[in-house]
Symmetry: D2
Subunit: 343 residues, 4 copies
């Protein structure tokens, strides 16, 4: 099987290469870039010297169409355009946010740019693997979820779907490592200003908010805004979403535990911690796992959910390959069966 990676010099791209390099079903990888054509991967990333012997090629439809699967790890706006040029025989996995929202006007409102055509949005399957596995199996165009939505949704859907909580009351306080901000240097992620510092940003304004809301609506049939606050942690990888909502009447701690175990019993990448035991971000470092802990506070009647992922893995490239496995009929864990690097 042949795979192409467009936008291979970003963190999503190099992480795809790290995994696909050892994926037993992949025979050939080609890498493409709009800005660094002609350079080798090792020039951009010295850590792959002598391991990855790939040169970045110019992006052209005919070249991409030679592949069984094309990963688009590109900035906003690019994948919407390229997806239309590609053959329907090639499966496309889009890691950008371009195709995640169903409604063009929502996209425009939050991304502040023109949306992909509505038909394309409708065609793209949302790749939160654990919750859309059947549609993913037959998807030609897959829209890979955002990092924050993956952490938040895997923790929230099981209880929202069963009405153990009201979506409108959900508060998501999320914390990410800096790789979520990409490879371009910025004042925000300059080491001298990020080290020994903790930051909050885009309060109530982050693009991942409507993605979370859309997917919660999908599983609850209720449209409701959520509160979502992202923070930046002085660490490289990892997301923790700490979520809060009043537990609806009639539910107790044991019911919640059962909900989680049932929801994920057939899903190898979601690990449920025992009641009142919580995961740390490093416990999924470098892997596709999502670890979830929760507790019910008898004093306030609130449910607290803690969900952690590696933002570059389950939050991006790992889930993309998990989706590829499903799309091509391979076991879900193929090529992704790592133990977290710890410490």
């Amino acid at each position: 099987m042949k795979a192409a990676i467009v936008g291979a010099t970003g963190y999503g791209g190099i992480e795809l290469i790290r995994i696909l390099h050892n994926h037993p079903k992949i025979e050939g990888i080609k890498v493409f870039s709009s800005s660094q054509e002609g350079k080798t991967m090792a020039e951009s990333y010295p850590h792959v010297t002598d391991i990855v012997e790939l040169t970045l090629g110019e992006i052209q439809p005919e070249r991409l169409n030679e592949h069984d699967v094309v990963f688009l790890s590109t900035p906003p706006g690019v994948s919407a355009e390229w997806t239309e040029h590609l053959s329907s025989k090639t499966k496309i996995i889009d890691l950008s946010g371009d195709l995640r929202l169903n409604h063009p006007e929502t996209y425009t409102a939050w991304y502040q740019r023109e949306s992909a055509p509505e038909a394309l949005l409708q065609k793209a399957v949302y790749g939160l693997t654990e919750w859309h596995k059947e549609e993913i199996k037959s998807a030609q165009i897959l829209s890979n979820p955002g990092c924050y939505p993956t952490a938040a949704l895997l923790g929230a859907i099981p209880v929202a779907q069963k009405n153990a909580i009201e979506t409108s009351e959900l508060i998501i306080d999320a914390k990410t490592g800096t790789t979520g901000a990409g490879r371009s240097p910025s004042a925000m992620t300059h080491f001298s200003e990020m080290n020994d510092n903790f930051k909050v940003y885009k309060v109530n304004e982050h693009k991942h908010t409507p993605e979370i809301e859309q997917e919660l609506e999908n599983w609850t049939n209720k449209k409701a805004p959520v509160t979502f606050t992202p923070h930046l942690v002085p660490m490289t990888r990892g997301i923790m979403a700490t979520m809060y909502a009043p537990l609806q009447s009639g539910w107790n701690k044991n019911d919640i535990e059962e909900l989680y175990y049932k929801a994920y019993k057939d899903h190898p990448f979601v690990r449920i911690r025992e009641d009142h035991t919580f995961p740390f971000t490093k416990e999924v470092y470098g892997t596709n796992y999502c670890d979830i802990g929760f507790t019910v506070d008898e004093r306030t009647g609130r449910l607290t959910i803690v969900s952690v992922i590696d933002n570059l893995m389950k939050g991006a490239s790992g889930q993309a390959i998990q989706n590829m496995n499903v799309m091509f009929g391979y076991p879900e864990k193929t090529g992704l069966d790592f133990i977290p690097i710890y410490p």
Copy 2:
């Protein structure tokens, strides 16, 4: 003026020394320790070599009573005992949690040890300076607030007091640097397991919870449990409390802004950021400032408040000295007028 520091080898103690050393009203400092008597401060902390020429003495009531003020920076249980031995002519500032709660049974429930005598609890003045200044002026025994409560309360009281939010709906998602856990090495704060990691702990069980609730009740006359979740950030100093509550009807963004400006206009250590501008922890590093940002989300009707402090300064030793200044009639900023170290 003469000051004694009991428990001078902890982080709270060494931070007191850092500030008192240059405090214009302090003529002499003595340091005491129950475990390191006879050692010099420089043996315990080489960074004060040639600057602080103090030897740790044995703790004895008569020696402490020679001072105008005694700071107790001691583990749970110690200050409750010592406070009773000291002369009423000596002012006591207790940085431990022993005297913060008014009701012995609450203390016992959360600290899981016997409380100080109720009379002592009643006598101790709670030292959240900006909100108890008048009582602090005449206090003989001052109970210095916890680090988390300081960050949370300075952000929440102005809106809770005026019923712009309901305390029972308040969610406090707090993040601290590791110095909050003290100087004793532990698995939790072992560098190899804390670096590049983000942790959550004591969910719904942290001792600072009843302290926050008690003080909110004090300003609202309503008893209500709050949700409080502490997290550990891979950084040395700093606390950010991100707080959420539905805005009560009749209130808008401008009202809230006015509430904050009014509440703190005469308080030099609280800085209010413009609407929708948020502080980062490093922006108060090494100082006694508390910076507060906030915003109202029109979509959800919720108020989000972000409050940051340096946990060893406004969250401990800085506020202790601010209180000392008030207790002895000095201007509040005496000895505390630093610019944050940045970056």
Copy 3:
């Protein structure tokens, strides 16, 4: 093939498990501990929950002898004792320092404890894979090198062996991440005192000094003391050894480059950077690579060599498994063919 890991709860042990878990020749792993018998690995390391279903057993010779290979990842003194109890049909890979030095008196002088019997020291093969491959093939007892010696020796042997430098003039300035100090919490590696800090320790006194000297003597036939200074970097993994020595007359930059390429052309885990290009520690993160850069300063006539490894991989568990591969006749990269995790 069956593997036993003794001392499985240390960082060396958990790293062995991470690799062996996916090693294609390993069918069964058993784990042993002297202090945590009866506990599961997941209790000690939550990140292996649902992945590694192993319970720590009591250390007993008969149980260890059921395995083809036994890894000893134990504190000083333990492996010297256990090695003697084990059957000669079981191959032993000792990750402790007990069997690295040939002379008991040198061990005693530097480790300040009694040495293993001299016969055992003589029998143990020193496992710097690239330089002892032939002996390793037939070794029954393998002594795995220290982390610092691995980084230093892989960089220094090629030029010392050919007399391009004099060993007696070699200065090794080495920097390590904190995992080199193990899992036991200490003041030195307490997060609050290690973060945003850079430390030097055991100047001229580190136990790895005689190991480096012994191996250099082995390849040069000259006994000479070296200068070795270890430092602690606020990072989790990684070692950089920056080495200095005057280039002997008759040698130039191109000669040196040729020496390195020749020395390692058949060794897949050593990567030589182009002249005057230097590796960073993170470029080998999580892998068994050793990356080496060098340059000659025309002004001073000195050669500077920079060698980096992941201290838990090529500096410990990775090299141990590389050695296992050689001992059992498998290709050297079996189970170790990872791309570094970056960033």
Copy 4:
């Protein structure tokens, strides 16, 4: 006394402001910038909100000449030009590298740009305070030393000057926090690529090399190249220079100790550690101290010197103000008498 800061938005500039703000001899500060005129300091640095009420002005000779002292914290080439426009009644302290080297050709060779006029180079006094105090007293133009040279020279001059070591044999392995690289974001100092990483750069090519050599020549009357290797540590502030040289015959450990104590007995900012006790970078954090440790290795006959400073303080702005104090006849510690922030 009135002070002007040109280039106030860099890290050197904001650190000058932090200290001068509380300096008892400074009555007024004005700030200037070539790129951010009209902005307030608080817009550039929110941490000075409500504390520093200064607006960045346009750089003009007549405006600068109104000040008693002008600090030039500017990029290469700027101060060389401005210095010539300023009145001789205004004292100038240049924090850039423009005026540090005495010979234009050396400057051009290492900085790869045209030098300031030779007359200006001759006029500027090199501000390594402890070693040039007399000349500094009467200096009109002061060239403030580089960060690395300050750490290296304070450690090396005492022994080089007395011929206890040969300068030509000196090896300086230096490590810095990232603020040494300034405020402009770059790939090198992007948090995601610097965190949990240790880097070496500009091996044998750093601009501070000739500065170190020139000053050593000044005190030894011997011209000799030194080996200097800078490294980047994942921390914000701090430099450690670990230095190596063979001890010349006739010298022993006690002699060296005496040399250091004598050299610095009247210099309050240099602290000598007891033999074989070494400082860590954080032990001088936020202060103007330089802490020095050393040891002699009997086995190799080499002297190892470890010198640490805060690169933004003794390595830049702190030393600049120390020099200002000397130039204006104030006690050296005026405004600089801080205890390090620890931890």
